[in-house]
Each structure stands twice: as structure tokens, then as C-alpha cells.
Symmetry: C2
Subunit: 338 residues, 2 copies
Amino acid sequence: MPNSARQTLAVVAILFATLMGQLARAADDPLPSWNECPAKQSIIAFVEKVTKEGGPDFVKPELRIATFDNDGTLWCEQPMYFQELFAFDRIKETAEQHPEWKDKEPYKFVLDGDLKALAAQGEKSLLEIVSATHAGMSVEDFHKIVREWMHTARHPRFHRPYDQCIYQPMVEVLKYLRANQFKTFIVSGGGVEFMRPWVEGAYGIPPQQVVGSSGVVKYEWNDGKPMLLKEPKVEFIDDGPGKPVGINRFIGRHPIFAFGNSDGDLEMLQWTTDGPESGPRPRIGLIVHHTDAEREYAYDRHSAVGKLDKALDAAPREGWFVVNMKDDWKVIFPPEKP
Amino acid sequence: MPNSARQTLAVVAILFATLMGQLARAADDPLPSWNECPAKQSIIAFVEKVTKEGGPDFVKPELRIATFDNDGTLWCEQPMYFQELFAFDRIKETAEQHPEWKDKEPYKFVLDGDLKALAAQGEKSLLEIVSATHAGMSVEDFHKIVREWMHTARHPRFHRPYDQCIYQPMVEVLKYLRANQFKTFIVSGGGVEFMRPWVEGAYGIPPQQVVGSSGVVKYEWNDGKPMLLKEPKVEFIDDGPGKPVGINRFIGRHPIFAFGNSDGDLEMLQWTTDGPESGPRPRIGLIVHHTDAEREYAYDRHSAVGKLDKALDAAPREGWFVVNMKDDWKVIFPPEKP
């Protein structure tokens, strides 16, 4: 064989081997929608060390607790929290049964589409809208309404069902952790009964692993059958300092892995990485930073929704990893389902 | 061979086969501490039908939710709730730091051992004792105190640690259900933080599967570290109609299997067997009836602790199985650990 042919063959062989290596690595990649970045590397390194039996950082499977915020961390939260959009849709859909709403604040603002006027009234008005749309029915009936809305409503910009406005890279993190015997929990400021009907299908997280805000529920009899009636009273706000409280109440164990995106997750991240422990244990905190106006939204310190300010300042000090959505994620949403 | 020898051999062969059959059945018996009885048969038949793939009563593993009361169902509750005995021990142990208790009701009743006087004061006094002993410390510190008490305190009659006064036949039911992919939950009127430190060791139930009564917990900073402080305020009473509420709040799914022992479990049993459902599904309710004064205690309709009256009347009407402790259980407690 002439020398040049031999060289060509060698080059082809090297190229082939490189390509095979890349394919093999891609097949092995537990987070294929992530570009190489410190956050991705830190997640994989963390999982590898806590699952390495006999290693110094090994954590028993029952202690592998991971907590995830939902709004802005697992799914989109713009142009406003999806649960608010749901409540507004419910006001419009049930307005016929409430003719008085046409002239009554804050309902008229919703019916007139004047969300600025509604926002100007502050939290109390929003709470009234939530109470009017989330109570006075059984838990089962509320779940049915949420499921129906998920089937029919579409995101104003992405034109897809809200439960498909979830972040594909985060779904991969959830699956990767569960494949390594982590228990994955949602710890969200959103309503627990608003999440339960769809999060199992979207994220693979069962109802008993959903921690959220809740209203008072009452046991009653109706037509000779027991029922649980949703009442228009707030019971628990799972946000900010409420998150460690919710984690303790519902999980009763310290997370070793926490992922958030806003100042509402600050205390959950602190509790995870600084909280009390019976001995040294590895733990990791991560933050999604919304930097991608083109594919999703870009916002942080001055956003009305999902404000990320204190937690962003705390990140370098605390050693939390900040995900740069624009650079670190190859895709934002999963392929659309037919 | 003479005829008689042949007959003897045949008899020996039959005896041997019978013995082998019995041994094989004993080895297969998932509930070896139970005598044959309707409750045992119903549990086994229920598990077999819901796990039979393709059968008409098949239930997907994620829907196999089983809820158990604790006091009087999984462990003993006499001569009074063990958590009360714990609280009284704590009053005695910390009395030195509270010299005023010597002359102050209801503390003096506890210090004087005058439990009749304490009982005469009713629930409010008991709540004060519980508040004084269950609050003003971090959740972790409270867990340490409970663990220490479990090591040192002994049941006044059985002279063994309280976490060994658990019912061996019920431990077998829990294991049998989990081996068949049920998720087993405690749903108890007892305090959730009083149970969490020891139920995983005793029953194999992790902290996130413990539903119980709770006090308010607050997120605070102490010496530059976050902590969860137990406050002297009741947050949730997981008893009676509170049990279906607790099941909804913490599990978010309907149990198909519920086991109780008192009127405090009536609503949990109703919710399990009569509650709303999206389609027909098998479900079963069971009640431990304390009928064994010799090996444990005998009490029901007129007991101050674990009163079983309405639920006992409801059982035949509702198709709930009643376990006759004296006849149905071969043993009460597990072998004592050294």
C-alpha cells in the first residue's frame, strides 16, 4: 500500500474512532439537552459521588432527597404564573353564573381584561380571585376542572398546552436523579391541588411528592357519600421561609439537592446547603437564571414574577450553581405532543 | 415385604408428605403470626386480586395506597397513649429548670403522679403539658430527645422499650403489602415529630410516609445557621374527620386499604371504602379489636383511650373486617431485642 493511502486510512480510522466515541458518549449522556457547563458537570459529579458505594460521600438511597421549585424552575412562569391565568379563565368561564361580577371589583377587571387595574389592587384582590375559583367544590371536581383546562387552554406565546411548557433539560435532571434512586419532590408556592392532576404525567412525580400552598379542606357528607370540600381559606403558603417548613412537614428529611429560580427559593436553598445535619454530607444547590429572551424570557432582579435578586447575590457566596438558560440549554421545551 | 410393613411405610409416607406440605405452606405464609381467620383470609385475597395483572380487580402499583392508624393499631396504647407518658417523663426530667411547676397546675399533678386530677382537668391541661414538652426547641433536638427516651424508658407492664411494644402481626401486614408494591402510610392522631424518629426502624415506614398531628414550626436563624423551631401552637389534628383531610393533604390519593382500631379511625375507614372514585376499584377496611386482657388489654366501647364504639357498629354494615386480637393473633409483640 502506498504511503499516502496508508495515511488516508489512518486518518479515516481516527475520525471513525472519534465519531464512535462521541456517539457512545452522547448515548451515555444522562442530560442530553444540556450543553457542557459547570452546572451540568456539577450535577453529574454530585450524583456519581453520592451513589458510589464505599466512597467517602456515599449517601444511602433513602436519604437521597431532591426538591424542585415548579414555577420558573420546572415550567415557564411568564407572562404570569400559569395558576393565575387558570383563575382568570375560570372567572370568564363561570361569569354567566355570577352576573354581579360585571360591575364588581376585582372580577370586572378580569372580565374586561384590565390586568393592570387588577395588579394595582395588590395581593388581596388576587387572593379573592383565587378563592372564588379554587373553592366551593370537592377536591375531585377541582382536579377535573384543572385537567380540562390543561387539555383546552394554550399559552399565549408558545401556543401549546401549559403542561407542555415544561423545561426538557429539567425533566432530564428529574429522570437522572430517580434513575439513581433519588426521591424527587416538588416544593412550590403554587397550589398543591392545582399541580397534582398533571405533574405525574409531565414530570413523573406522584401526588404524595408534591409540596405546595394549600387551602382549607373539610370532610363532609353529601348524598350519603363522604367528600372533601375545598373552602375559600388559605391554610399554608409554601414560599420563602415556608419552603423549609413545608419540606419538614411533608418530607421530614433534609434534601441534599435543591433547584430553584427565584428569591422565593432562597430559604429552601439555604436549608438544603446550610441546614443542620447529624454529620457531614454532600449537598448541592442550583438556580435557573432566565437569560433567554428569544427562546423563553429574560428576567431577574426587577421582575414582578419570579424575581431573582437576593438569591442571585447569595449564589457565589453559598456555592450554588447558576444555570444560564441561554447558553446551557440546547432546547427549552420538549417536542410538542400531537 | 409383609403387608403390615407395607402399611406402616405407606402411613409414614403420608405423614411425611403432610408434614412437608405444612412446612411449605408455613414458609409461604406471608402472615405467620396470624391464625387462620376471616381478617387474614381477606387481606391475602385482597392483595392477590389487586396484584393479578389482567384480572378484573388489578390496581396499578402507584395506586396501591395503604393507611394505618398507629396508637392501638400498630403499637399498644395502654395504660395511656405513649406520647402522653413521654410528655410526663419530660415534665419530670426538666422540673429542675422549672421550680415553679411544683405548685402550679397542671404540672404539679404530673410531678405528684396524680393523673386522676390531671384527667379531671380535661383536654386543655393535657395540651398545656404537651406544649411545654414539645416546643421551644428545634425539630432536630426534639427528635434527639424522643430517640433517647425510646432507648431508656420502659413500658410499665411489659418492661420493654415502647418501640418494641409494636404488634408483630401488623408488622407482617406492612411487610406483605410493601412486598406487593403497596405504599404503606401511618395516619395517626399522634404527633408527626414524635413518630418520625423511630417508625422507620420499627415498621419500615420512612418519614415522608408519616401523617400525624403537628404543631406550628417556624424557620429562624440561630448562630448563623438556619433552624426550624417548634412553637407551642397546634397546627393540625389528624384525628376523626381530620384523617381524610390529612390523607388528602399528604398523600393526595385515595387509600384502597385502611386499618384502624378506634372511633378516631371511623372517617378514614369511610373515606377508604365509601369515598369518591373515578371508577370501581377494590378497597378494604379493617379494625383491630382489643380482646386480649391476658396478653395485652381488652377494651372497646367504654375506654378512655382508643374508644371503639361507632366504628364497631359500622363494621358489619360497611363490610369492614374486625380482628379479634385474642383469637386471631398467635403472638402480640415481636421477640424482645437485647
